[in-house]
């Protein structure tokens, strides 16, 4: 049996509020820090947080995400970003040249069902604005997308990209991982890469996963 990390459940008392400071995934009640999620508690420099093991993506500024265009508006695009809210990509944040939109149909830049790699530039409550003003931002062509639990994205990438680079190297694929849990894969052995990614998602809480993945890929 592989070693697992400590797991807490919602409503579980983690520690006294005087000892540590509450961070993401926790709240204070009656002078105690309590977990909000089913997740793994983490202590960094006196701040106690709980990383949820499941859940939807919560957009935050400067996140790099993969989105699907769902609608072309007058001066921008509506984008599905796998979150509780849909996002808006304004024309000014997407195209550099001057556009007279009385004469131009902006669907020639991005059209419905296109996949884009973009950055979240602003979040106000449920109002999410995207931007393509990032050197990495672009339209993703000829690939497949799969969805994983957003909280497991850091695990998929690994320490300084060790895990994702191993998968890329062994399968000869190009992979883009959005922080919203959408993964875009293009290349020859796509099926093998998908299998590895699904395994990481399933066993993300097990210590020593990198070795297991390397073994799976070297078969």
């Amino acid at each position: 049996m592989a070693e697992t990390r400590e797991i807490v459940i919602p409503g579980e008392v983690l520690c006294d509020a005087k000892e540590k400071k509450p961070s993401y995934g926790t709240f204070i009640e009656d002078g105690k820090i309590i977990s909000k999620f089913l997740g793994i508690p983490r202590d960094s420099a006196g701040y106690l947080s709980v990383v949820p093991l499941s859940g939807v993506y919560l957009p935050r500024g400067n996140d790099k995400i993969i989105g699907f265009i769902t609608g072309v508006e007058k001066a921008g695009w509506m984008v599905d970003i796998n979150a509780p809210w849909s996002a808006f990509l304004p024309l000014s944040e997407a195209v550099d040249e001057f556009i007279d939109f009385k004469k131009t149909d902006i669907s020639r830049f991005y059209d419905v069902n296109d996949v884009i790699y973009a950055q979240v530039s602003d979040v106000k409550r449920g109002d999410v604005v995207l931007s393509m003003r990032n050197p990495m931002a672009r339209k993703l062509k000829d690939g497949v997308t799969i969805k994983i639990t957003p909280s497991k994205v850091p695990r998929l990438i690994g320490k300084e990209g060790s895990m994702i680079n191993a998968i890329k190297e062994k399968t000869g694929t190009i992979i883009r991982v959005g922080q919203n849990g959408v993964v875009w894969i293009s290349g020859e052995k796509t099926d093998k890469a998908i299998k590895a990614i699904k395994l990481i998602e399933k066993k993300s809480h097990i210590i020593g996963l990198t070795d297991e993945i390397t073994e799976l890929l070297s078969d």
Partner: protein, 238 residues
């Protein structure tokens, strides 16, 4: 409730199924039974089986249903046509609509809905097999499914029914006891602070009896809570 029978429901301190008066039925809980849903759970109390699926938080349309400062819960309790001996007519009945509403009210206080404004959390509860106390079984399943879906929660919600049969106060009524009981009380509560979120009563009891039943349910609920905790942990054990 309400029906009369000559059958003795309690004989020599033992109930119909051989339980003691404050003994609850065998409990089985399983998390993650519906891969398509964000969170799901199946709960069995004796012969009562409920399955719950949670979707969301996700965008809510039409827009006039949205709340600008918080998410809303949509809850649906439904009995499968084959869940009882005589077929249940499919579709929402007066009873199902009422239980859907009280289930929603029982779950709402445990959630941080203000984290997801303008969205909806859909909770679907399906009763696969009914043998009394279906609403509390449904609430237990929904509570686990919500935790599994990663919806931020103040605490889990634990539910258990109490009642009175043949002038004896009992816990966790089964179908037959439910039909011929003097009174039954489904209770849901948040175990950390023992806050009650659902309290209904059908029948007649004295104030003192109600107090005793609440006390017994809160005590026996600890065991249900332990089972919930185990079920959540088990999903991530391997």
């Amino acid at each position: 409730m309400g029906m009369k029978t000559d059958e003795k429901l309690i004989m020599n301190g033992k109930r119909l199924d051989g339980r003691k008066k404050d003994e609850i039925r065998e409990i089985e809980m399983k998390v993650g039974v519906i891969p398509n849903a964000n969170g799901s759970a199946q709960v069995r109390f004796g012969d009562t089986v409920a399955i719950a699926g949670v979707y969301g938080p996700r965008p809510l349309f039409p827009k006039h249903l949205q709340e600008s400062d918080r998410a809303i819960i949509k809850c649906r309790y439904n009995m499968a046509p084959f869940s009882v001996e005589e077929r249940v007519r499919p579709g929402p009945s007066r009873r199902a609509i009422e239980i859907s509403k009280v289930t929603r009210l029982a779950l709402e206080p445990a959630l941080f809905l203000e984290d997801y404004p303008e969205t909806v959390v859909d909770v679907y509860i399906e009763i696969l097999q009914a043998d009394g106390s279906t609403r509390v079984t449904g609430i237990n399943a929904a509570s686990l499914a919500l935790a599994d879906a990663g919806v931020p929660m103040k605490d889990l919600v634990v539910a258990l029914s109490g009642g009175k049969i043949n002038d004896t106060l009992v816990l966790d009524l089964c179908g037959k006891e439910d039909n011929y009981s003097d009174a039954d009380i489904p209770i849901a509560f948040m175990p950390r602070k023992k806050e009650i979120t659902l309290l209904q009563m059908d029948g007649e009891l004295t104030p003192q009896e109600i107090k005793t039943i609440i006390k017994n349910v809160l005590k026996a609920g600890e065991e249900v809570y332990k089972k919930q905790k185990e079920a959540l942990m088990k999903k991530y054990e391997e």
